[in-house]
């Protein structure tokens, strides 16, 4: 047995000892979800610990109407849509960016906002629409390239701004009596930017145990041990277990860039609906870079597909397997909802690692 396995076995044992009643923990972050699955951590958890996946994937929570807007933009002559790879499969009400690309629209995958701006610098005859998704971790990079484009007067660079803010969504989850969470595993990389103070209300007002954790198997298990301990002792707080990366004050400089470019705005989350002030709206000064204004497209609210339970899954009140569409009508080749689209969406993760049946290695 190697070292890591020994340490994790120890953590698993500690977790067993600490959970003497059923507890419900939500991992907020999709990267945690994927890591938990890839490492097979579920097979090491006590049966009394129920781990549910939260809204932590910016792809999952991108609203159908927002995808429709991106699809419409891709259909305009002369427009190049640039976005992150995980956005391509997300279904709108009729199409997806992947579909549009297959139909010959110019949709390109970038791995950084900087690459999108680079395309605009190099291809002056095309109008670039950067579909900007992501939470606090990603918004600073978008802000930074918007400032660059503004300074260098790159007039063919625009942004479809779909950025979202995590704390308002956590508030919505925490205050939902149906969900009834005991603990939250908080997202490490969002916290790198935000710091710890935005989470204070969770233990204070809602009595929810919290731990900011890293993404290695060991770090995730430690996070779970920490919240189990808080619950057992009846002393919820925000523990910081990702000290290498997360400072209490976060990254104030990155936040200041975000503040220069964006202001709080309402935003609609797939599954959670409209959450006040949970979005980052472009400030007036940069409105010439707003793809929607520039190309006169609007985001329309469309009802979710029939039977889709993404809302319930995202809120953690239903497991993916409980959705009537799971597996047969909704699967990774034909995703109905966003949770099936992204590799780390909770439905895709359950499908991928459990082949549509029950995970034979789950404890």
């Amino acid at each position: 047995m190697n070292d890591t396995r020994q340490r994790i076995a120890l953590l698993s044992k500690a977790l067993d000892l600490l959970t003497d009643r059923p507890i419900k923990v939500m991992e907020v972050c999709g990267t945690h979800t994927v890591s938990i699955f890839r490492q097979g951590l579920r097979s090491l958890l006590p049966p009394s610990l129920k781990l549910v996946s939260g809204p932590g994937c910016p792809v999952c929570v991108t609203d159908q109407g927002e995808i429709d807007a991106a699809v419409s933009l891709a259909g305009i002559n002369g427009v190049t849509v640039a976005t992150y790879g995980d956005m391509l499969r997300v279904p709108g009400s009729g199409s997806s960016l992947m579909n549009e690309r297959a139909r010959g629209r110019d949709v390109r995958i970038v791995t950084s906002a900087d690459q999108a701006l680079e395309i605009a610098r190099n291809e002056k005859t095309r109008l670039i629409v950067f579909v900007a998704v992501g939470f606090e971790t990603t918004a600073p990079s978008t802000a930074s390239v918007i400032l660059d484009a503004h300074r260098d007067r790159i007039s063919n660079f625009t942004v479809l701004d779909l950025h979202k803010a995590v704390p308002p969504a956590l508030e919505a989850l925490a205050s939902d009596a149906d969900i009834d969470l005991d603990a939250l595993l908080l997202p490490g990389h969002v916290s790198v930017i935000l710091g710890l103070s935005p989470y204070g209300f969770l233990p204070e007002r809602y009595g929810i145990a919290c731990a900011v954790a890293g993404f290695e198997a060991e770090e995730i298990m430690l996070g779970l041990v920490e919240v189990a301990r808080q619950i057992k002792e009846g002393r919820p707080r925000v523990a910081s277990l990702y000290g290498q990366a997360v400072r209490a004050e976060g990254n104030p400089f990155a936040r200041s860039l975000v503040d220069r470019v964006f202001e709080p705005g309402d935003s609609s989350w797939r599954g959670l609906g409209e959450i006040p002030l949970s979005g980052y709206a472009l400030r007036e000064e940069y409105s010439s870079m707003d793809a929607l204004k520039r190309l006169d497209i609007s985001i329309r609210r469309t009802p979710p597909p029939d039977g889709c339970s993404c809302g319930e899954v995202l809120r953690g009140v239903m497991t993916p397997r409980e959705c009537p569409l799971f597996g047969n009508l909704c699967n990774p080749s034909h995703p109905v909802g966003p949770c099936m689209v992204s590799g780390e969406g909770s439905c895709a993760a359950h499908f991928r690692f459990s082949a549509g049946g029950d995970d034979p290695w789950k404890r």
Partner: protein, 78 residues
């Protein structure tokens, strides 16, 4: 939600760009979200941008928690 990987800074091109390595991978990254970076610093990189400098220590809370885990699970009872 946000994949971020540690990179070591190899060269600073200007105040915005640097060459950085993650193991054998060398990439150009943006460094303007973390002021004052120097060559040799290890940073977390998300979507092509350094978002924070990594410290070597894990922090007190982790150390304390590990101690407790060892005490608790190592001996078999609390």
């Amino acid at each position: 939600m946000c994949l971020a990987i540690p990179h070591r800074i190899l060269r600073l091109f200007d105040d915005k760009r640097a060459l950085a390595s993650a193991g054998p991978v060398e990439t150009e990254i943006r460094v303007d979200l973390v002021p004052g970076l120097e060559i040799g610093d290890v940073v977390l990189v998300h979507a092509g941008f350094a978002i924070e400098r990594l410290l070597e220590e894990h922090g007190q809370e982790i150390e304390a928690l590990w101690e407790e885990v060892r005490r608790m699970a190592g001996t078999g009872h609390e």
